[in-house]
Every structure is written in structure tokens, then in C-alpha cells.
């Protein structure tokens, strides 16, 4: 079955001030896929995520979400179209409780019931335990789970995750990977995630784009992800 495209970029260029970072990114993601983006430090992976959600303006090129151009929309409008974003460094609201963080996430939907919170608490039981605690006092792994729960609670169509495993202990990385796959299977949510941890990619993604110097330079199919040497070869481009 050939699924419909949810996200495409065409010759996407963006940067900071006068400094170009994305030099023409072209890639495509289909509904329900889990796709990884890999690349060395500083090649522009986070910049790509920020450009996709709209926190960084597009200099030229286009971003199509469900075939509609979104590159001119502000981030809040893109979120309302169904794009969720989990930044590198999580950016939880530190002085708000876990529950309030989730409330901010669910507000896009207008009405939210206890079942929405329960769904997230089932996926991440630690959040339920800590729900009245300030998010700033959580550990890195817990903050990551909160940041993921905070976008998943609004049932987005596409979620952008920037290095979900960074600075998190391996057992929790496995939990997060499992939960991402479970949510993808349960709701069909499309996932694009930036990652440097090959184990995490192998355990989670179906396909992987390789990024270098502000461009997508290769694509690795799912079956090649099991071949460590092939992946290493791409990373050494």
C-alpha cells in the first residue's frame, strides 16, 4: 500500500540572521511513517525542525503539509493544523505543574476531558505520579516524557522530535522508543525525529534521512538500518 504524503519540503532554505544553515532541504514523509533524521553535530538538524514548526522563518522554498503550503504560517497556526514539536532540551514550562504543562498541550483541541490526560498518564505512568510537581524539578528523562506527552495529548497528525534520547539514561530511552512506536501504531501519528543514537533509531524508525551541511544527502531504508556499517558509512560522508 502506498500511503499519502503528509509532509514535503522543496528546496527549503533558512538560517539565523544573515547566516544560511539550511541550504535547500528536500524530503518527503508519508502518513503513519516513523522517519529519523541523522547527521553530525551542527549540520542543521534542529534548524530544520524549527523551520518545519515555524519558529524560524523560511528564506525560500516551500513546506507542504497535507499538500497545503504552510511556510508562511506562524508556529501557532501550524500547531493548530496538527503538527506537534518536541524541541531539543525539552522546554517544559518549568514553574508549572506536570498537569498544567499537559493543559497547555491540550488547549488546541478546545475541549479536553479527563480521558485525554488518562491516555498520556497510561503511556507515561511517572507523569501521573508527579502530576502536581513543578516540571522544572523533574529529571531529564521525565521532562522528555512530559514534553512528548504534552504534544501527544492533542492527538496531532505529525510530531517532530528533536533528539529525544539526548542526555537520558538508556533504560528510559528504551521506554520512550517503545512508547513512540505504540502511539504510532495506536493512532497512526506520523513521527519525524532527529537522533544521533543509532540504537534508538534502529529500535524506532522505519526509514532514515542523512543530513549534512544543511542538505539531505542520503536516505537509508529500514532494512539497511540493521547494518551498522552502512549507517556509519553514511555518517562519515
Amino acid at each position: 500500500m502506498r500511503r499519502e504524503v503528509i509532509l514535503t519540503t522543496r528546496d527549503l532554505k533558512a538560517g539565523y540572521g544573515g547566516k544560511p544553515v539550511l541550504q535547500g532541504v528536500d524530503f518527503t514523509v508519508r502518513h503513519g511513517e516513523i522517519v529519523a533524521v541523522i547527521g553530525r553535530n551542527g549540520v542543521g538538524k534542529s534548524t530544520l525542525m524549527k523551520a518545519l514548526i515555524g519558529l524560524l522563518p523560511t528564506n525560500s522554498g516551500s513546506i507542504l503539509f497535507n499538500d497545503a503550503p504552510i511556510e508562511a504560517l506562524p508556529a501557532s497556526k501550524r500547531a493548530r493544523l496538527g503538527i506537534g514539536y518536541v524541541p531539543q532540551g525539552r522546554d517544559v514550562f518549568p514553574r508549572m505543574t506536570v498537569e498544567e504543562n499537559l493543559k497547555v498541550g491540550v488547549q488546541i483541541r478546545g475541549t479536553a476531558g479527563p480521558e485525554d490526560f488518562e491516555r498520556i498518564y497510561t503511556a507515561f505512568p511517572i507523569l501521573k505520579e508527579r502530576r502536581t510537581q513543578r516540571a522544572g524539578t523533574l529529571s531529564g528523562g521525565q521532562q522528555q516524557q512530559l514534553a512528548i506527552g504534552r504534544v501527544m495529548i492533542s492527538s496531532p497528525a505529525l510530531v517532530l522530535l528533536d533528539e529525544p534520547s539526548e542526555g537520558i539514561q538508556p533504560s528510559i530511552v528504551q521506554d520512550i522508543s517503545r512508547t513512540i512506536r505504540a502511539m504510532n501504531e495506536a493512532t497512526g501519528v506520523t513521527i519525524v525525529f532527529v537522533e544521533q543514537n543509532l540504537d534508538m533509531i534502529r529500535a524506532t524508525a522505519q526509514r532514515c534521512y542523512v543530513m549534512d551541511k544543511g542538505r539531505i544527502v542520503a536516505e537509508i531504508a529500514a532494512h539497511d538500518l540493521d547494518d551498522r556499517d552502512a549507517v556509519r558509512r553514511y555518517l562519515a560522508v
Binding site: 506562524p74 500547531a79 522546554d91 514550562f93 518549568p94 508549572m96 493543559k103 497547555v104 488547549q107
Partner: protein, 290 residues
């Protein structure tokens, strides 16, 4: 009975000072704490609230309704000012100071030209009561109750309502709130409007106790800024405790040495706090908690 009378007199003085500090500062504190904008037109929003209250009252509205009208008009003007001016200056905090100062000058001069150098006010309602040989203004008790009510309502508003939660999120990590679909421009406009509206409320509440002149806002400015500087960026952890502490300083110095020393005491307190707690009371409390 004498001792009780003295205790009541002190409590009344403290309550009066506390109410004045809280009501002077809350609008300024919200705009500064939530948006990082130092609103030098704060006094003019107070003046606006006072003028609207007096005009509405003299046009026949009962005083409580007239006070609310003052708050609403000041709040609406606040939203307008945010949309037209402040919005364009978020990236340049120093420019917002100059811009709000300009607005303050225009407002004072404009009022002077349009309404003249003074306006007939409304008398202080509710009269006075006597206790242990001293006479007290009943309306001052209303002001104290209003200050406490404003703090409680603000707390409930920012913690229990949807808008409040989104506003706090926007203040803490603006880009993340935006990425989660929060209309942060609307939040900023509303927050500025709420701050201006609170200033208007303060003006309306104090209007019956004051002479109506275009520069009446300046009466509140020193207390407002002192409280916000001492309190730091958090309205609840900062403004309320700062106002309480400063009220003790001001009320005791005023009753022992007179008004001037009360004011000097406040200035000394603010200098000490800046030396010891550069981020104010709330900065100190929050660091302790983290």
C-alpha cells in the same frame, strides 16, 4: 480598651499602607513580571481610571459601577496601546521605556488641554466611624478589602483559568507556547490590558479620596515602582510579600515621624533590597525552591 484601640490604630495604618502599595503596584507588576515591559505610563492609566470613574459617577452611575467602568476603559486603552505601540518593541526593552514615557506625557498634557487643570471630584463615601476615641474613614476599609480581593482574584485567574495557564506558559517559554498553538500575540495584548485595567481600577478606587488633576498618577508611581522592584517579577510571590513588608516600614515610620519619613523609609528599603536581593523577593524565593 486603650491597648486594643492602639492595636486597631496600628492595624488600620498598616492595612491602609498595604492597600495603597498593592493597588498601586499590581498593574505595573503584571505588565513587568509577565511581559518584561516597564510601563512608565502606569500612573496615567491610574489617572484615566480615576477620571472615567468620576465622570461616570457624576453622570449618574453608582460609584462601584463607575469604578468598574474606569477599570474597563483603562484596560481597553491598554489593549489599544499594546496593539499600536508596545507590540513592535518587544525585541527592544529600552525603547518600550521611552515609548511608554512618551505616552505618559501625551496623556497628562492631553488631559490638561481637554479637561483643564482640575476637575470637581466626588466626595469620599461611607463617612467615618469611631473607635477608642479615634475617628477612621470607613472607605479606607473598603480599599483594604479591595486590595485583598484583587490579590485573591488575580491568583485564581492566573492559576485556575485556561487563559491564566496559557499566559503563564507564554511568559515562561514564549517560543514553546507558540509552538503548542498558543496565540501569544493575543496573550500579550490581553495581559497588557489586564495590567492597565488594574491600574484603572486603582485610580477609580482612590478617586473619591483625591484631588482630580491630570498629574494625579504620580502620587502612586513611587510606591508602585518601589513595590515592584522589591517584589521582583512574580506578582504573588513578590508583590504581595513586598507590599506587606513595605507597609510595615511605611506605616510605622509615618506614625512615628510623619509622611516624609515614611517615604524615605521606602526608598532606603528599596536600596537595601537591590543590594541584598538583586532579583527581588520573588527571585530569591524562586531560587530557594529550585
Amino acid at each position: 480598651m486603650d491597648a486594643l484601640g492602639a492595636i486597631f490604630a496600628s492595624l488600620y495604618q498598616f492595612g491602609d499602607a498595604f492597600a495603597f502599595l498593592v493597588l498601586s503596584a499590581c498593574g505595573l507588576a503584571i505588565i513587568f513580571g509577565m511581559m518584561g515591559v516597564i510601563n512608565l505610563a502606569h500612573g496615567e492609566f491610574i489617572m484615566c481610571g480615576a477620571y472615567v470613574t468620576v465622570m461616570a459617577n457624576r453622570a449618574g452611575l453608582p460609584l462601584p459601577v463607575a469604578v468598574l467602568a474606569g477599570a474597563v476603559v483603562a484596560g481597553a486603552i491598554g489593549v489599544l496601546v499594546e496593539r499600536l505601540v508596545i507590540r513592535h518593541l518587544y525585541a527592544r526593552p529600552l525603547d518600550t521605556i521611552v515609548a511608554t514615557w512618551g505616552i505618559s506625557l501625551i496623556a497628562t498634557q492631553g488631559t490638561l488641554i481637554v479637561l483643564g487643570s482640575t476637575m470637581t471630584g466626588v466626595g469620599t463615601p461611607l463617612g467615618s466611624f469611631e473607635l477608642a476615641g479615634n475617628s477612621y474613614s470607613t472607605y479606607r476599609l473598603v480599599l483594604m478589602g479591595s486590595a485583598v480581593a484583587v490579590l485573591v482574584l488575580l491568583y485564581l485567574f492566573f492559576n485556575k483559568t485556561r487563559f491564566g495557564v496559557l499566559a503563564r506558559a507564554t511568559i515562561q517559554v514564549p517560543h514553546m507556547a507558540e509552538a503548542l498553538g498558543v496565540d501569544t500575540r493575543l496573550i500579550y495584548a490581553m495581559t497588557f490590558g489586564i495590567g492597565a485595567g488594574l491600574a484603572g481600577l486603582t485610580g477609580g478606587l482612590y478617586a473619591p479620596t483625591m484631588t482630580m488633576v491630570p498629574t494625579m498618577g504620580t502620587t502612586f508611581i513611587m510606591e508602585a515602582f518601589v513595590t515592584v522592584v522589591v517584589g521582583g517579577a512574580d506578582v504573588f510571590l513578590g508583590t504581595a510579600p513586598a507590599a506587606a513588608a513595605l507597609a510595615i516600614v511605611k506605616a510605622s515610620l509615618t506614625s512615628w515621624y510623619g509622611q516624609l519619613f515614611g517615604q524615605i523609609g521606602l526608598l532606603i528599603a528599596v536600596i537595601l533590597v537591590i543590594r541584598l536581593l538583586p532579583r527581588g523577593v520573588s527571585g530569591f524565593l524562586l531560587r530557594e525552591r529550585a
